[in-house]
């Protein structure tokens, strides 16, 4: 202990407990704001691609016109069969998507849901609940519902009977997925055969569906196949009416659509920047008060022979301590609020190590900026002024 320099920054900061607590609450609040806005932004983007990430297949095939999951364009199923002939392609699955009205079994209110259909024998959407209910899904007029759908969808207990697309269906189970912008109020899963039963003969105003046109084609590759090479080969050989992506590309295309064609990114970046600015101002206020309260002592240090650089270090250390100590409560409160938000909205709002670290760095930068502004007060202090006053 004798061999360390006096940690002046720490002593000054912790001397007045009440002021320290107020300061930390301020920093924590700014951190919380940044976490919430970043969290919402990421949640909106993450939610858009959570279904795509779950789909089982290394290569994805869609209609060339389908640039977003919103677009109801299909391609001919025979493209999938053609793709199966290529080296490295083990299996090909068809994934059907349509929208249909769901009647809430309790309130009888009708809500639009997205219907996802596939052959239950294939591991297309390998969620444990779906795999467990494969046999029931094969029965006629059965569906599974997402228990994380919007509450308007109503109860999700197995055995309930209700109407989907004005046809009586039976709920055989529930799984957990979550909603996104393209899904309406939730997702309902059924077998391709039931898809045919429900949507092959709609009224004259609607486009009936059959199994010959596919919304998303999924290719499972053998373990030694290189997805990029397979995609290249398929792109060259197959007709131009389809787009072929690796799964990562497919997810990226969807994300790019949401980032570039909506205001989500801009709005939330603006909000996060504003929280950052609020944090800078708060911390500046705290540090400036400390510096002005102690300017005589700091000026005395300068008279004694301490350099401006030393004082800069003291103030920046205080800023750093505030940043790191304030981050911790901000982080934990954000975790709680993330949980509450996820439960309330069904959005996929998650904390990852990377996002936590990014905001920790942002918080530290925030405090250092404040420190650098506040320190100018000490830097310009004239030690001669301590005399005679």
């Amino acid at each position: 202990m004798m061999r360390l320099r006096t940690p002046l920054a720490w002593f000054n900061l912790t001397y007045e407990r009440r002021r320290l607590v107020t300061a930390l609450a301020g920093v924590a609040f700014a951190v919380l704001l940044m976490f919430m806005f970043r969290g919402f932004e990421n949640a909106l983007f993450d939610s858009q691609v959570q279904l795509l990430k779950l789909l089982n297949g290394e290569v994805v095939m869609v209609n060339r016109l389908k640039y977003s999951m919103f677009i109801p364009e299909q391609f001919a199923r025979r493209r999938l069969y053609q793709a199966q002939a290529f080296a490295g392609v083990e299996d090909a699955y068809a994934f059907y998507i349509t929208n249909a009205n769901w009647k809430n079994p309790e309130t009888q209110a009708v809500r639009p849901l997205r219907v996802l259909a596939f052959n239950p024998d294939d591991p297309v959407l390998p969620l444990p609940e779906i795999l467990a209910h494969r046999d029931q899904l094969k029965l006629p007029w059965t569906v599974m519902i997402d228990e994380r759908s919007r509450p308007e969808v109503g109860p999700t207990t197995a055995g309930l009977e209700t109407e989907l697309a004005e046809t009586r269906v039976r709920l055989v189970g529930a799984y957990a997925l979550g909603t996104d912008f393209a899904a309406g109020d939730g997702n309902v899963v059924m077998s391709d055969q039931n898809f045919l039963r429900l949507f092959s003969s709609l009224g004259p105003d609607e486009d009936s569906r059959d199994l010959n046109t596919v919304d998303i084609g999924l290719l499972r590759l053998s373990d030694d196949a290189n997805p990029v090479a397979v995609v290249d080969a398929l792109r060259q050989a197959l007709p131009q009416d389809i787009s072929i992506y690796t799964k990562d590309e497919f997810v990226a295309v969807e994300l790019t659509y949401w980032r570039e064609n909506t205001a989500i990114g801009f709005v939330f970046t603006l909000l996060t920047t504003m929280s950052f600015a609020v944090g800078v101002i708060l911390v500046y206020q705290i540090l400036y008060t400390d510096v002005s309260d102690h300017w005589k002592e700091y000026a005395t240090l300068k008279a004694m022979g301490y350099t401006n650089f030393y004082l800069l270090k003291v103030v920046l250390q205080q800023a750093l301590i505030l940043g790191v100590l304030g981050f911790v409560p901000g982080y934990f409160i954000s975790l709680v609020l993330y949980r509450l938000t996820a439960n309330a909205t069904g959005l996929l709002i998650q904390m990852t190590l990377e996002r936590g670290l990014n905001l920790l760095i942002a918080t530290v930068i925030m405090c250092l900026i404040s420190g650098a502004i506040a320190v100018r007060k000490v830097q310009t202090t004239d030690p001669a002024e301590v005399f005679g006053s």
Binding site: T6, T14, Y15, K296, E297, Y306, A384, F387, G388
Partner: protein, 260 residues
């Protein structure tokens, strides 16, 4: 008014025996139209080991001169040698270097409330190249100043006299050859003021320090070897203690105080 030159100073002493040598020093505040001269052609020598008290009315430039000697301002003009280095024209970082050899004592104690007495003193020790024994040094000097039982007290728990003694300990701990004090007794009662000054006198005498003290406090003039009076930015008189007392008998002194 006495203008008798001091018996000791102006005849040239060798440089080694001089702590501060000032020649033809002028100093101005402000710029352009507002430029105002505050010091006029100051010539002053402070020999090593002397205690010099500087008095004079408020606004006469005492504190300005003190800050110039203390290397707290850049000096544009004249010649000002402090501890053998001419600080005229020095840059800020060189001035900082000079200051490290000077002990400053202020009217207010200017201690950090968040640091204990010893830690406040240690802040000064850390400026010295050899600071690893800082705690021992701080405790030693505080003991010397009669604060051995207050070493770990925060300033809030100390009396005014004790705080000023901590401030003195901070100024003296690095054994600076030159000590500059600005009204060190102004905030203290009679007894603490006396104690503080006596302590400074003992330390100066036993270790050969030079002390320049600005004060209005007539009660402590007796510790000085010399008394310098400033009026309106000029050195008005420079005399030894006996001479000062002779020429400033109470009546004259009182009248002077009314006039100013």
């Amino acid at each position: 008014m006495t203008t008798t030159p001091a018996p000791s100073s102006i005849p040239a002493l060798p440089d080694e025996a001089i702590a501060v040598r000032i020649r033809n020093l002028n100093y101005f505040f402000g710029q352009g139209e507002l430029r105002k001269q505050v010091l006029f052609d100051i010539n002053l020598d402070l020999p090593k080991g002397e205690i010099v008290i500087m008095t004079g009315p408020s606004g006469s430039g005492k504190t300005t001169l003190l800050t110039l000697i203390g290397a707290l301002r850049t000096v544009p003009d004249g010649s000002l040698k402090v501890l053998g280095r001419d600080i005229v024209g020095m840059g800020r970082s060189q001035l900082v270097d000079v200051r490290r050899n000077i002990g400053f004592i202020f009217q207010a104690h200017n201690l950090f409330d968040s640091l204990s007495a010893a830690q406040n003193v240690e802040m000064a020790v850390e400026l010295a190249p050899n600071w690893r024994e800082k705690r021992r040094q701080a405790v030693a000097i505080l003991t010397q100043l009669g604060l051995s039982d207050r070493v770990d007290y925060k300033p809030k728990a100390l009396s005014g006299g004790q705080k000023q003694r901590v401030a003195i300990a901070r100024a003296l701990v690095n054994q600076p050859p030159l000590i500059l004090a600005d009204e060190p007794t102004a905030a203290l009662d009679k007894k603490s003021g006396r104690d503080v000054v006596t302590l400074m006198q003992q330390l100066a005498k036993s270790e050969g320090r030079t002390i320049l003290m600005v004060t209005h406090d007539n009660r402590i003039l007796d510790v000085a070897d010399r008394i310098v009076t400033m009026v309106d930015g000029r050195l008005d008189s420079d005399e030894n203690l006996g001479h000062f007392v002779d020429t400033h008998d109470p009546k004259t002194l009182d009248r002077r105080m009314f006039i100013l």
